[in-house]
């Protein structure tokens, strides 16, 4: 177990370093970031000033080491747009994105768990087809469009929910549904196929032969085993949902880091963009690390692989 954990930690560390390099290089894909930061109207002198102020004239490796060393201490530099530390701006916004991601994850699991189980218990019935239909529609539904349609229906026609903003839980209802539905198909399929596989295994037959009550078999014996891969999927999906928040948050003008990223890209606030890409990637790395270790605790077979 210790060996596995250490190996997994080393991998996570390597991924984190690589991801930080990518986010570092990201704002340099167009060549000189000073020109992008300065804007179109800047003079050569201003560009030179920015270049020196941000240290873009130093060798790349030095810049990277300096940036990553500061980032490690939570210092992502200063936003040229807000004239504030990037970490402070992000700190104000990240709670909204985390809340949205959390709600969306809960929504996706609550929708797919009962349907997935029912579909597995009654394959090729209307429940199964309903579950499959919801999954297929979810795959094909562009989440930003779904969000706009909900706004027209629930906010404009029915006047039940506010169009945009972050003030109360009511503002989170439609974004949660839009983002959560996007994550639902993966859960639904995994729960359904996992349950079908487990239900056809020998130990379930033994349990039935012993005369155990069906709900006991279903929830205590079958679900427990089928749920293990769902834990890993939840970690992965939560990461994807945080990444996908850029679309949903800009539809609903929800002031999280996704919306912040979109606005920052529009106004060439590159240090903020860089910090958000790095933060979201690192959250994903940590989540998958934790879920892998949790899985190894739950299922000893994984450790020896």
């Amino acid at each position: 177990m210790i060996v596995y954990t250490l190996k997994r930690l080393a991998l996570a560390f390597l991924v984190a370093v690589t991801v930080s390099m990518v986010s570092f290089m990201l704002i340099r894909v167009s060549g000189d970031p000073a020109i992008a930061l300065a804007g179109e109207a800047a003079s050569a002198e201003q560009i030179q000033h920015i270049r020196e102020h941000y240290g873009f004239n130093r060798p790349l490796l030095v810049q990277y080491l300096d940036w990553s060393w500061r980032a490690l201490q939570g210092d992502f530099g200063e936003s040229p747009y807000f004239r504030l530390p990037v970490s402070q701006i992000m700190g104000d916004r990240i709670g909204v994105t985390m809340t949205l991601g959390g709600y969306a994850l809960v929504f996706a699991v609550l929708l797919s768990l009962p349907l997935g189980i029912l579909a597995a218990v009654h394959p090729n019935t209307w429940v199964d087809r309903l579950a499959l239909g919801i999954a297929v529609l979810g795959q094909a539904m562009p989440s930003f469009w779904f969000g706009l349609i909900m706004i027209i229906f629930f906010s404009v026609t029915l006047r039940w929910l506010p169009v945009s903003g972050t003030d109360s839980w009511r503002h989170f209802v439609m974004p949660t549904i839009a983002l959560g539905y996007y994550g639902t198909p993966a859960f639904m399929r995994l729960i359904r196929s996992g349950m079908i596989e487990v239900l056809s295994s020998d130990y379930i037959r033994t349990a039935r032969a012993k005369g155990l009550r069906w709900p006991t078999i279903l929830f205590k014996h079958a679900l427990r085993n089928a749920i293990i891969p769902v834990v890993s999927l939840a970690a992965v999906q939560f990461g994807f949902m945080l990444g996908g928040s850029i679309i949903i948050e800009s539809v609903f003008a929800l002031h999280g880091i996704g919306y912040l990223a979109w606005e920052s890209i529009g106004r060439s606030d590159l240090p903020v963009v860089q910090a958000i890409v790095l933060t979201l990637s690192l959250i994903y790395v940590v989540l998958t690390l934790l879920s892998d270790i949790l899985n190894a605790v739950l299922d000893p077979r994984i450790r020896v692989k």
């Binding site: 704002i27 894909v29 795959q139 562009p142 349609i149 027209i152 992965v236 945080l242 996908g244 958000i276």
Partner: protein, 305 residues
């Protein structure tokens, strides 16, 4: 197509009838013709393909021609609609049907090109990792993990905005980003095929590694490859629409469905058809590719469900 019962060799069985079992290809073909989802998906894609090919014939107007005297005419089924503009006009007086028809070209072109680039990268990586295993496998798995950790939409939006949006850039950026599923699936299938006898036979016959990969392994994972490729076209189309919706994809005045939704967003409270029409088109196209992909999987490789 031959029938189950052939009378080609009368006399041998004494009955004048001989049972001929259908070839596996015939079984697959018959299963496909019975699979409703597959047929529906195929129908949608054929219709959209015809739209893209026949766009100059079908479009009644120039999709770029603005006529400010004809702004925001509603579709024909609403009051004030007329048959000159069956789906109405947008805020610049451009014919919505013609823009929708030409928009299908953008979606299909980007979807197919991104799929080809991503497929080339992902399949190569997956083949190498699955065939050689060991260090190469570790390296490819590492690349996949890094790729999954990066928030795809955010990175794509940032890169496109820094380099400048054009169709070519969008295709290239998305192609370099979404190869992960190809790599994961092809790696797993290659690992399954690798220990089979015919691979060992080819190895002992002295075939080159390239020949084994190209002539022994690749043809045998074609089914899985086609399934992933179909689903990935849908993902690429969805990503392009999302990027264009965020204003960082295909640039105006190109008729892209995502861009049409984005442009219609401003007017959606009073003219909801501006977003429902391109949204429904996008949804149907994505549904078509998803149904087709799921259908092919059900028929050719049901174990991958």
């Amino acid at each position: 197509m031959s029938s189950y019962i052939s009378s080609s060799s009368p006399g041998e069985t004494g009955l004048g009838l001989e049972v001929v079992f259908p070839s596996s290809r015939q079984i697959v073909r018959r299963a496909m013709l019975r699979h409703k989802g597959f047929l529906m998906g195929l129908a949608v894609i054929i219709v959209v393909t015809l739209l893209t090919i026949l766009a100059p014939v079908l479009a009644t107007h120039d999709p770029y021609a603005q006529d400010l005297g004809q702004r925001l005419i509603p579709p024909v089924w609403q009051e004030k609609g007329n048959w000159d503009h069956p789906l109405g006009t947008d805020n610049l007086g451009r014919d919505y049907l013609s823009r929708l028809i030409y928009g299908s070209r953008v979606s299909l072109l980007i979807g197919l090109s991104v799929m080809l680039i991503a497929g080339l990268i992902g399949t190569t990586l997956g083949l190498l990792a699955g065939y050689f295993g060991g260090k190469i496998d570790m390296f490819v798995s590492f690349l996949i993990t890094v790729r999954l950790a990066l928030p795809a939409v955010l990175v794509a939006v940032a890169v496109v905005s820094l380099i400048g949006g054009s169709m070519r850039i969008v295709i290239l950026v998305l192609g370099l980003l979404v190869w992960d599923r190809f790599a994961v699936v092809i790696r797993a299938s290659t690992q399954q095929i690798r220990p089979l006898d015919y691979v060992a036979a080819a190895t002992s016959a002295g075939c080159s590694t390239f020949r084994i990969l190209a002539h022994e392994i690749l043809p045998n994972l074609m089914n899985n490859l086609i399934v992933v490729a179909t689903l990935e076209v849908a993902r690429a189309i969805l990503l392009e629409a999302a990027l264009s919706f965020l204003g960082m994809g295909v640039q105006p005045p190109t008729p892209s469905w995502g861009l049409m939704i984005s442009e219609g967003k401003e007017f959606m409270f009073f003219y909801p058809y501006l977003i429902t029409i391109p949204g429904v088109a996008l949804f149907l196209l994505l549904l078509g590719f998803n149904l087709l992909g799921d259908g092919i999987r059900d028929v050719t490789a049901p174990e991958g469900r």
